[in-house]
Symmetry: C2
Subunit: 658 residues, 2 copies
């Protein structure tokens, strides 16, 4: 039997905190939201009258579709996916922390979903209740396959956690229904959903069931995309319905949906950022499963464009609110961007699937960047408040008075009418153990992607072994592994040397080992025995980052990082008008862990200076005679993920350089 | 007879060029637009399907309203105002340059307007043709009084130019109709138009006719504004019409219309920038005519807020495209702003009316700033292409790919569906002679606001005298005045010492006179005789301006000015990626007039440096090890108003400071 990862468990204190919040706060809270419990406050993510958000109504929609109640569908056309994402998070949570009561609740929801599924396997409460005749007729906006994909993902996770087959059966019937309607064969729809998701769900379903049709259907959707630029327009023209499925979406260009070109011809990351990374995650998984080199090459192209020209230092993507989309190379404004939490989560999916294809640390570097900064920054320390939009620079008065920044919230709202980010975070955090290692069986190698305390169990040639990882990240770069194996076992342990590390030190059983880095990994190829101890020290220097000179918004500025964390300045620590502070590059900075602050964070203090606003500026807006004067200022920085957990105020990642 | 300005003529070569373009290009071109001549290309100012802009149809609307043709109204609800602004520009043009054919054409248009006027004096083609029952019922959006104001302004100008009474009669009937419908009396409408304009038109009509009712009606509209915050909402609720008068306007807040507070309580410049400055222009004129000190004080407050916290260095106003509006203090982004040409023209109206109230050079300084930079920057050197939006920083790829900058055009389009700016410019340029002097009769003083070559005729105690001004502006600061008077005449000649001047030198008949500045003016109080020569030298140093430190967008940057002109860098002279260039403050710069360039402009060259993009940045977006390197770069600057007249490319006013 080739090398396999059997199981992975996280016991890391940093991450367990988040995973506990999901279990104890988010899952119950989200359940209340889905059921319209009275005291739930739902805030709109934008001031837009087209957004339905008075209540969720999501469970109610299923009851109506199941015939248990009378009434109308309420909410977004993709409202069902909120239930599915909750279910997926529940599945992962049960796999970490069994809970009979929660499992019974989830079983009941699955029964309800089963009742709402139609005879032929079709499943979508909006179309079943309101417009069955419009099924699959408006795919640019309908999100039917998007919702289906989320159910399939949930069903796969639920089966893996509980071995309950009911959800999986519903999922296979649904996939079969889709397979019956879509494809190149005569009479089938030659099209795809406006929001990618079914593609990555089908690869997961194939992985679990081994049913080749599901992989082929995923490949069909991927390769069909963008081949016929008239598909969405034709569907719109043929659609006899009068109700808009989603208001205000019909003007979107094909790029928005990544439907402007066949996927192998797409050179740049375009359009809605979440859609793009979901597409890429599916492409990378399909390329791996089907050993499709052309598709892998397309993935590399899109990856390179995105991470080397269109990604924020926090791992955020999406430079504009309009379409929540990419704009153009090096266009990375810090105060008007979107940087949706879900987009960074999708980027993590993409990176992880690339790691299956090729053992290059750059994918894990980006995965780690997005995870430790934008993803967990999307959530308040209390686990109950969430950002959609993750700015790198905020001024409360601009958010209030500049309509171009009204989407940039200064505090995390309690919930959103369009509830995609919080449950997406929940499922990422509860499945985080899956991201720690990638095995490459041909090389008999275990690649370590993330340094997170926990235990993983592997099997190789019918022998099992364990790796116990102890990590001090994100605060210190000390990592140790202990091998547990009944008999000696020969495999390669690959350890990532992150981009942020100083000169690393490595010992095996106390003996220094030279650190030779290949594609960002040190490979330790040995026959390992129980009790073998590997110690890796990754010095966490405080680093001053510059952006590529063509990133106009960051020109003349620098950002501070330590380990995987990017830091930021908040008004609470530094006073108002953060832009008046400038830092001397290469000046000494000091790091200190403050267990009292923000649940315990490392802080950085730096000798900076702050411009004084002199009296000569009274009533003067422009001056050719004014002089500048500065006073010393001790700049205090906190990890970006922990911002906006105190008094609302300014925040800034990129700092003016003196 | 107290001191009066009898007439003013401009012969200045800089301005005559523009005035000739209006006469020979804009007026005929605009006439073709108004009449839907076949070869006219109308571009939309924004990608917005709600904007009607296939054709103007403006004259056609009048023919239909007049009963000469059958058909429907087409275009904006305020389409009539295009005809009125054309007529006003024609009036001024005729006053400068008599033209029988043009006058006959205009007489014919006035006859047509007269036919379109209803029995009771009401005049508005949209409501007359389409929805007479909705007259005055939706004032937030209807622009009925706005259009009326533009007709009244045109009629006043036309009477002054031609002494033709027909237009004036229509105007008075229209004003009487409005007077009959609006006011505090029982049965009248206690409201006002959503777009200010009638207020300033009525003061002009009062000024010409002496009819006190018109001044009182203007004061009524001004003081009524913002007193009842429910007025617009009540009209909307009571309106039985189903058609939107203007799509997508109903969500605007009261601030947009300056209707959030009574005018005496408004402390800051808020809302739609053109509306605000039209309001202020009316307030300043009404304060002057009614000697209303409370209103003057309100004007000062709004002025001070605007010019010391919310105005671009180019005299542009309006920091956001959303609502074409002000945002908040010191919020002056250079690449997403609106800075509408019309808003700067309105600022000029406001400044000029403040000069009637009080002889303070700051008003003329701002007038000059807006005139020489944003106003004429709104027009191409060919007189046929126009900007609505006047950015201070442009990158073509951002305008193309960032929806938040799609309103920022890289080249001036030929015309716009909403044709407010070009005719507004036409009337400003053809009436520019009116702005050169302001007389203050009580002080027997002639205040010189602008240095523009030309002749002005004054009367004082039944004696007339002339001032012949010769100015080398905007290229050199040499100005001379020669007095012509039959008999010696005692008056004060006040000369403005602009903010941009070096140490000025002043002689009268060759004898040096000490320059003592009061509120920005030197006062020469003498008995003047024919042949007296006053020479003023205003050294035009190249000036490096900084913005107030709280202007975040300009922090660490400087802008260059010389005389009244603000300069900018264009890609054509400096290559792409202008943000890579940085300038050393206080470095020597050289000025040279280039008669071959852009119709003849002064250029500035400056030793700067340009960042090299080194190979270490290949495929790298963020780096903690990259170093910066610069090479010398001779930065070439041209006057801001002349940008975008060559190959489309980047432009930047604010430059990075080394």
């Amino acid at each position: 039997m080739p090398l396999q990862l059997q199981s992975s468990h996280i016991t890391d204190s940093f991450w367990s905190h988040y995973r506990e919040l999901v279990r104890t706060e988010m899952i119950p809270y989200q359940w209340d939201v889905l059921n319209d419990k009275a005291d739930i406050v739902i805030e709109k993510e934008r001031n837009d009258d087209t957004i339905p958000s008075e209540k969720s109504h999501a469970i109610e929609n299923f009851k109506i579709a199941a015939g248990l109640k009378k009434g109308h569908h309420y909410g977004w056309v993709f409202q069902d996916s909120d239930v599915y994402k909750w279910l997926e998070a529940v599945a992962y949570s049960l796999s970490i922390h069994p809970d009979t009561q929660l499992q019974e609740l989830a079983d009941g929801v699955i029964d309800l979903i089963g009742l709402a599924q139609e005879q032929d396997g079709y499943l979508n409460t909006y179309f079943s209740i309101e417009e069955p005749e419009r099924r699959f007729k408006k795919l640019a906006e309908s999100h039917e396959l998007y919702c289906a994909g989320h159910f399939i993902e949930a069903a796969v996770a639920y089966y893996e956690a509980t071995h309950n087959e009911k959800a999986l059966t519903i999922a296979c019937r649904l996939a079969d229904c889709i397979d019956a309607h879509f494809g190149k064969e005569e009479g089938k729809i030659r099209g795809y959903d406006g929001h990618e998701e079914i593609e990555l769900a089908l690869t997961k379903l194939y992985n679990l069931t081994g049913e080749q049709r599901y992989l082929e259907l995923s490949l069909y959707f991927l390769y069909e995309r963008g081949t016929d630029p008239t598909f969405f327009a034709r569907q719109r023209a043929e659609d006899k319905g009068t109700k808009a499925v989603i208001e205000g979406m019909s003007h979107r260009q094909l790029k928005y949906y990544q439907a402007h070109l066949p996927i192998l011809e797409q050179e740049t990351a375009e359009g809605h950022a979440v859609r793009l990374v979901y597409l890429c995650a599916a492409m990378a998984d399909a390329a791996y499963l089907a050993n499709d080199q052309a598709m892998l090459e397309a993935c590399r192209r899109l990856w390179n464009n995105m991470v080397s020209k269109r990604m924020y230092i926090t791992g955020g993507i999406g430079s504009t609110v309009d379409g929540e989309a990419f704009t153009t190379d090096y266009d990375l404004p810090n105060d008007t961007m979107y940087c949706e939490t879900c987009a960074s989560i999708g980027l993590i999916f993409f990176a992880f699937n690339m790691l299956k294809n090729e053992a290059k640390a750059q994918y894990a570097d980006v995965l780690e960047r997005a995870l430790y900064n934008t993803a967990i920054g999307g959530m308040a320390l209390d686990g109950k408040h969430f950002f959609y939009v993750n700015p790198l620079e905020v001024r409360p008065d601009s958010s209030l008075h500049d309509p171009g920044k009204s989407h940039v919230k200064v505090t995390r709202p309690a919930w959103f009418g369009c509830a995609c980010c919080p449950p997406n975070l929940a499922r990422l955090l509860t499945s985080l153990h899956k991201y720690v290692y990638t095995v490459h069986p041909q090389q008999r190698a275990v690649y370590t992607n993330l340094y997170v305390t926990g235990t993983a169990k592997f099997e190789l040639d019918n022998q099992s072994f364990q790796l116990q990882q102890n990590s001090e990240l994100p605060w210190e770069g000390n990592v140790a592994f202990e091998v547990h194996a009944d008999q000696p076992v020969a495999f390669t342990l690959a350890l990532r040397i992150p981009y942020w590390s100083g000169e690393p030190a490595l010992t095996v059983n106390g003996e220094a080992v030279p650190v030779t880095v290949q594609e960002g990994f040190v490979l330790l190829d040995r026959t390992w025995q129980t009790g073998d101890i590997i110690k890796l020290t990754l010095p966490m220097d405080i680093r001053q980052y510059s952006a590529h000179p063509l990133v106009r918004s960051d020109w003349g500025k620098l950002a501070i990082g330590r380990g995987p964390l990017i830091y930021c300045a908040e008004q609470e620590d530094n006073g108002a008008y953060l832009h008046l502070i400038r830092v001397q590059p290469h000046q000494q900075a000091t790091y200190r862990f403050d267990s009292e602050l923000l649940g315990g964070v490392g802080t950085i203090e730096w000798t900076a200076e702050r411009q004084q606003i002199k009296a000569e500026w009274d009533h003067v807006l422009y001056s050719s005679v004014a002089t500048e004067s500065y006073v010393p200022h001790t700049l205090k920085l906190i990890p970006y993920y922990s911002w906006a957990n105190r008094t609302p105020g300014e925040m800034q990642v990129w700092l003016h350089k003196a």
